[in-house]
């Protein structure tokens, strides 16, 4: 093992506390900027069709990661802010590993008219229910409060 004359005093210091101060400012990127500017003024989304892969990509991007082709700006389309729950989980633990006051229903939602999906929180409180395949609709903040981030979507309401 390590050195020969060892520390044997159990009252000696053992830990050094510190934090990593790291605040980040992320540009949404050219595609993200376009989407979030649209969300600020509309209750809907934009998507990008890749003609080569025959897929409508959502969230929109400048290029398709599958075929690596650029997607021209004139091909962007508008899609509604509705979707179908592909997967859900009921989360009870917060990031600190403690129990939250109330569970949250986290879902991966297939966005209508696209081949893409978005993570979201479902606004419901039935912990035993199966939410898979339910239709949901994004509920946005009021237009004045929107800041151009994903947090402009408050949660998703079940519509069927």
């Amino acid at each position: 093992m390590t050195f020969i004359e060892k520390q044997t005093d159990p009252t000696a210091p053992t830990h050094w506390r510190g934090n990593m101060q790291a605040d980040y400012f992320y540009s949404n990127g050219v595609a993200g900027d376009k989407l979030f500017k649209y969300i600020k003024n509309n209750d809907g989304f934009l998507a990008t069709p890749c003609k080569k892969c025959n897929k409508v990509l959502f969230p929109p991007r400048m290029y398709c990661e599958n075929c690596f082709e650029e997607i021209p700006e004139d091909q962007w389309i508008q899609v509604p802010a509705t979707g179908t729950v592909r997967l859900f989980t009921i989360a009870t633990i917060n990031a600190h590993g403690e129990k939250m006051k109330e569970p949250k229903i986290m879902a991966l939602i297939n966005i209508d008219e696209t081949d893409g999906a978005l993570l979201g929180v479902i606004n419901a409180k039935e912990w035993e229910k199966d939410y898979t395949d339910l239709k949901v609709k994004a509920i946005f903040k009021s237009k004045e409060e929107r800041e151009g981030t994903l947090k402009d979507i408050l949660y998703w309401n079940i519509i069927s």
Binding site: D23, I90, I93, H96, K104
Partner: protein, 413 residues
């Protein structure tokens, strides 16, 4: 081209916390043991050094700088791979096969007990624009250019009330588990059996920290954290360090070491877009295909004698088994129910106890898996030794939220 051999392995014990030693000490201990195992002097005989570490786990913004001293690499070629230790094996493989290096040391470790905010660091790996905000409230930082928390008054751990509403990033595993169970008709009880099996195997492994004698009922009655994922479906974190020494065949023979070959290696990364990722562990499938091809394995189910599969969550072991072709889709649960995955079964999986039994050692996970395979191939596995093992496979995943992983295949000479 030369073949690549494992000539030394070394590791510390794995413990849920290690307040007495720092990260340098555990790295030093593991490396020193590996170099002694290979009977080489690192300051003379090793031509290249590799560490696998990720800055946020460690708490340093350039972890590379803290590496050379304790692995013996001062004023030598040394690099840090930001990723699982298994990628270090791949890097070493390339360096040796190309003839650039003769003897390479690979180290990976976990000192996760130093990290007080594990969930937040993992959440930091999510896409900041499309995924992270969904996890819960975030305060808008102060942009005046001054850090908002001076050192004499650090931010309190539990913070403001809304911060405790930030969901733990493991919710993504809950989503994926649901997908897996639904698509393969696997039950939560099947997943519970994985926890039971691996924690039982860990009893036979002297360095494992989470051995336990539990039943399916125990797991089923543990609370839902991310339904359907339960507390005992999740591998708990652990500290530990592992070091491997690889060399070309000529040096291995000169040292008089019975060669264990690193005969196949593959790696793959899926898109980071959760929206288009299939949640089918495609990364494991592709990396295994690459490794099988390199190792000349045509029928993995017949040719592989033993495997260590990433089991950071119980369902992951089953999902990965199917992805790498050791079971057909939906068939992993059948093998499990038959007992084929037990140490005495036809294809023993995670005889070491896996991450569920040893603990989740973060970036050291890939090397922990490889360590078990090499120990088994050497015949040094003691009470958990599996007879007549010739070919073993280690597979590792870069954990949530990634779709990245790698596979290494070891063969006894």
């Amino acid at each position: 081209m030369t073949r690549v051999c494992v000539i030394g392995i070394g590791h510390t014990d794995f413990n849920c916390m290690t307040p007495d030693v720092n990260w340098k000490d555990i790295m030093y201990e593991a490396c020193q043991k590996a170099y002694a195992d290979a009977s080489i002097d690192p300051r003379k005989d090793i031509t290249s050094f590799i560490t696998c570490a990720e800055d946020y786990w460690e708490g340093f913004s350039i972890f590379d700088e803290f590496v050379p001293d304790q692995i013996g690499a001062v004023l030598r070629p040394c690099c840090t791979v930001c990723g699982d230790g298994i990628y270090g094996l791949g890097t070493a493989y390339m360096q040796i096969q190309s003839g650039l290096m003769d003897v390479v040391s690979i180290e990976a470790h976990s000192k996760v007990s130093d990290l007080l905010t594990y969930g937040d660091v993992m959440l930091h790996a999510f896409d900041p624009i499309y995924d992270r905000p969904v996890s819960g409230p975030v305060e808008r930082p102060n942009y005046s250019g001054l850090p908002s928390y001076p050192p004499e008054n650090p931010k309190p751990l539990a913070g403001k009330t809304d911060e405790t509403e930030r969901v733990h990033p493991y919710f993504l595993a809950g989503l994926e588990m649901q997908h897996y169970l639904r698509n393969t008709n696997t039950t939560e009880e099947d997943c519970a059996m994985i926890a039971v099996k691996n924690k039982k195997n860990a009893f036979l492994n002297p360095y494992a920290d989470y051995e336990a004698n539990i039943t399916v009922d125990h797991v089923m009655k543990s609370e839902y954290c991310f339904k359907p994922l339960k507390k005992l479906d999740i591998s708990p974190n652990v500290d530990g360090a592992i070091c491997f020494v690889l060399a070309n065949e000529k040096i291995t023979r000169e040292l008089g070491i019975e060669p264990i070959y690193l005969s196949g290696f593959g790696w793959c990364s899926e898109t980071p877009w959760l929206s288009t990722r299939g949640m089918e562990a495609e990364y494991a499938k592709k990396s295994a295909a690459m490794a099988y091809k390199m190792a000349g394995i045509v029928n993995p189910r017949k040719e592989i004698n033993i495997a260590e599969i990433d089991d950071r969550f119980t369902y992951k072991e089953l999902q990965h088994l199917e992805a790498i072709g050791l079971a057909r889709k939906g068939e992993a649960k059948e093998l499990l129910r038959e007992g084929a995955l037990e140490i005495k079964g036809s294809i023993p999986i995670n005889s070491s106890g896996g991450s569920l039994g040893v603990g989740n050692s973060l970036e050291a996970t890939g090397l922990q898996k490889s360590l078990e395979i090499v120990t088994q191939l050497r015949g040094h596995a003691g009470k958990r030794q599996i007879p007549d093992v010739k070919v073993g496979l280690a597979q590792s995943w870069r954990e949530i939220p990634s779709g990245s992983g790698a596979v290494a295949i070891f063969t006894r000479g």
